[in-house]
Symmetry: C2
Subunit: 221 residues, 2 copies
């Protein structure tokens, strides 16, 4: 039993101070950056604290330990992405699946560009089994997959998407968007592609649509 006194005698719980919120935000931002660059093992809590401009024991004060900081930082990215995805998708009528697809790809690309950690964190954790990967799959990846997966299958039936495993197709689309953005430093050096520019992101979005959704939208009438 925890020492949490039940309903009765609940402490008034003094409200969290503003500076504490700021510190937490700075630490979360720094953690996202550091973890996506060097992975969980490769990132030191002192490095995170330094990027945040904060003393390192504040990490254990605000987040208990490195693992928990990772979880909350990762959670923030995926929740934020989900919010912008839902907001964008809600504006497109269900009756127009191709526009839905375009919006999904566009949102994924634009969010990835502003926050490449979205894909990088996954890649960092997918290299070997871990509790972090399990957590990531259960809380964020599987829900997204389950939703988009059926949408793709539906688009195959009306001929917008080529035949084949919808699971494979979804993940191919995903890596063409997020995976390419995650590689943007390399692409700049090998292929003269600058995925920080609006034009080239738009070009990539267009290409993904043309390659993976080549079918014409059936008449809506």
């Amino acid at each position: 039993m925890e020492a949490q006194t039940a309903d009765v005698a609940r402490k008034p719980a003094r409200k969290q101070q503003q500076r504490s919120i700021v510190t937490q935000q700075k630490l979360l931002d720094a953690a996202i950056e550091a973890f996506s660059e060097n992975g969980f093992k490769g990132t030191s809590t002192r490095d995170i604290a330094e990027r945040a401009g904060v003393h390192h024991p504040l990490i254990t004060y605000h987040f208990k330990n490195k693992e928990q900081l990772w979880r909350e930082a990762t959670d923030r990215i995926f929740r934020e992405f989900n919010v912008s995805l839902v907001k964008a998708m809600d504006e497109i009528p269900d009756i127009d699946p191709k526009a839905k697809a375009e919006t999904f790809v566009g949102t994924y690309l634009h969010y990835s560009r502003s926050q490449p950690a979205l894909h990088r964190i996954i890649l960092q954790e997918a290299n070997c089994p871990s509790e972090r990967l399990d957590w990531l799959v259960e809380h964020h990846l599987r829900p997204l997959y389950d939703e988009v997966h059926t949408a793709i299958a539906g688009m195959q039936q009306i001929g917008i998407v080529p035949a084949g495993s919808p699971a494979l197709l979804f993940n191919m689309i995903r890596v063409c968007a997020g995976g390419l953005v995650a590689l943007k430093l390399e692409l700049k050096q090998t292929s003269d592609i600058d995925l920080d520019s609006d034009e080239q992101i738009a070009e990539l979005a267009d290409l993904i649509i043309r390659v993976f959704f080549p079918g014409e939208q059936p008449s809506l009438g």
Copy 2:
């Protein structure tokens, strides 16, 4: 000036012992595994030595330092891949570009499956600028890009590959193959895809061809 005595008086240089070669191989294999799982910073030389079943000072004995071990391990993967790629491509006549494409994708996929580090190492280093990334680009990534890039442009002209930036298309194909294999642990959990199985690798190969090379081969007569 180094102490290397010029032409004259070159020491007979006793030949390398067999056990030393074995040790180096074990260290290289272990290094590839460890670096691709945890990145350069996240991997300790003691971890590598332990995976290799060897005492850790042998790393500096055989490879000078961690950085050099990374270079030689990475070099081995890419050289090995290049050998199997060239061998496979040489058997296909230049006159049949679609078969060339299929062979390229197939070889990339099969090698990636046996050695997922091929793509994982790139992903580990593409997250922030480093001398290792520069080295990787210059010695292995750019040469491959330069070669395949023009082949894709050629296939676009005869209508096999959809229009669009050949640079983007090449990299999309690359991540659909290597990037998906690098994510195979995640795909098993989210999408019930097992990229260790022959069938699903073949399915992915087929899908990549159908999506990125949808055009028919023009008559050869």
